[in-house]
């Protein structure tokens, strides 16, 4: 039987090849809605694919990415499930249909493909990219300290051996630059949501400084509505707040960069934790995580759809 995106086992962890095959299958199975675009190439030469969900031209866009930190496997799994959900619900679910009739959605399932492969083959706890750091025995940069937002400030390391190494300069990592170039070139991205795990937070800017963003009240209200909806499925409790007040000051993060670029609806999700497994969340948890996250995501994208700016 020919493989297709409908029979794929979304409740399992898969190799990069399998994820990429499924990304292609989704684009083939829903070809009138979904296209696969390569937005760049990783340090080790792997393609960086984004799925574009679109029903028209010149639409404002919403960006969703997952897996910037390689070892957070539940995030890549959640993003792939979400891709299939978006595609299969178009024309059936009124909210998804109305969203995609007005906005394009760009979904980057594996933001850090080299790191993902490395976490499968050499070090399950790998978090960073796999670039060579000149003059150091240590590899890789924390791609979520490498954006041009307070780059080099507190909460990022200058030590190439650290798991939070910021890199030699902002956007030194091709994986970061590919996304930043795409966002800049598009020019009409209205929402940017980055998916991480596993602390159960919905975070808003800022992380590089401890001041609230201008749209703090609105973002907090959207965040609370999203986490309330998310919690309605399995009771998973989320905390909403700025990166600085909720976690700690950290510079060079993606949603700070997008917010300062003018993308008001910039959020970072930290998906669920069962309290026992951390990054090794069992596969039985993938579908519940994806399903509840979808409810939260939906609230955010509905707000973006209904509040143009």
């Amino acid at each position: 039987k020919e493989r297709n995106s409908g029979t794929f086992n979304y409740g399992a962890y898969h190799s990069l090849d399998t994820l990429y095959n499924t990304i292609s299958s989704i684009a083939q199975d829903y070809s009138s809605l979904v296209t696969r675009q390569q937005i760049g190439t990783s340090y080790e030469g792997r393609p960086i694919y984004v799925l574009k969900f679109s029903t028209g031209t010149n639409r404002p866009g919403i960006w969703v990415d997952a897996g910037i930190h390689a070892r957070e496997w539940v995030t890549q799994a959640t993003a792939l499930w979400t891709a299939h959900k978006l595609a299969s619900d178009y024309g059936k679910d009124a909210s998804v249909t109305s969203l995609l009739n007005s906005h394009d959605v760009f979904l980057l399932v594996v933001t850090n493909p080299d790191g993902y492969v490395y976490s499968h083959s050499a070090d399950r706890m790998w978090r960073k990219t796999r670039s060579v750091n000149s003059g150091s025995r240590c590899y890789g940069v924390d791609p979520n300290r490498n954006w041009d937002a307070g780059f080099g400030g507190p909460g990022a390391s200058s030590d190439p051996c650290s798991d939070t190494y910021r890199g030699p300069r902002a956007e030194s990592e091709v994986e970061v630059k590919a996304v930043a170039d795409f966002i800049r070139a598009h020019g009409r991205i209205k929402g940017f949501i980055s998916i991480h795990s596993y602390s159960q937070y919905l975070l808003i800017p800022y992380g590089y400084k401890c001041t609230n963003p201008a749209d703090y009240t609105e973002l907090m209200n959207v965040g609370r509505a999203a986490t309330s909806s998310l919690s309605s499925l399995y009771g998973t409790k989320y905390t909403v707040g700025t990166i600085c007040t909720t976690i700690y000051q950290s510079s060079g993060g993606s949603i700070d960069w997008t917010y300062d670029l003018g993308i008001k609806y910039s959020f970072a999700f930290e998906l669920r934790d069962t309290g026992r497994y951390g990054f090794l969340l069992p596969t039985t948890q993938i579908l519940p995580t994806a399903q509840e996250t979808w409810l939260g995501l939906k609230k955010i994208v509905e707000h973006i759809r209904d509040n143009p700016y």
């Binding site: 086992n9 399992a12 962890y13 898969h14 190799s15 399998t18 083959s121 050499a122 070090d123 399950r124 706890m125 030590d159 051996c161 798991d163 596993y198 602390s199 905390t239 909720t246 976690i247 700690y248 309290g275 026992r276 497994y277 951390g278 990054f279 090794l280 069992p282 596969t283």
Partner: protein, 93 residues
């Protein structure tokens, strides 16, 4: 391939911001090779640290001598990774 035999993930409950500061100081001790899965920032939220087997004793002594409340979240990390691998192989088949 890197293995994590005997590595544990400790879940530490800080009781105050003083304890949070002590845990942050622990983070700067590079020789312990600690991997902070959940960072110390707020006493309301537990801190998760992966501790390599060879440094378990030192870290536990530090925590106990400073009266930190902690539990073992993952007893043997490699065991969980092996289970995950087996599951992936089964799914791939």
């Amino acid at each position: 391939e890197r293995t994590f035999i005997g590595d544990q993930v400790l879940r530490i409950k800080a009781k105050s911001y003083d304890e949070i500061n002590q845990l942050q100081a622990l983070e700067t001790l590079a020789h312990l090779q600690l991997d902070f899965w959940a960072e110390p920032h707020n006493p309301d939220i537990p801190v998760d640290i992966r501790v390599p087997f060879e440094n378990l004793q030192s870290v536990k002594v530090y925590l106990e001598s400073n009266n930190f409340e902690y539990s073992i979240m993952i007893e043997d990390l490699q065991k969980v990774i092996d289970e995950e691998k087996q599951e992936m192989e089964m799914n791939a088949r």
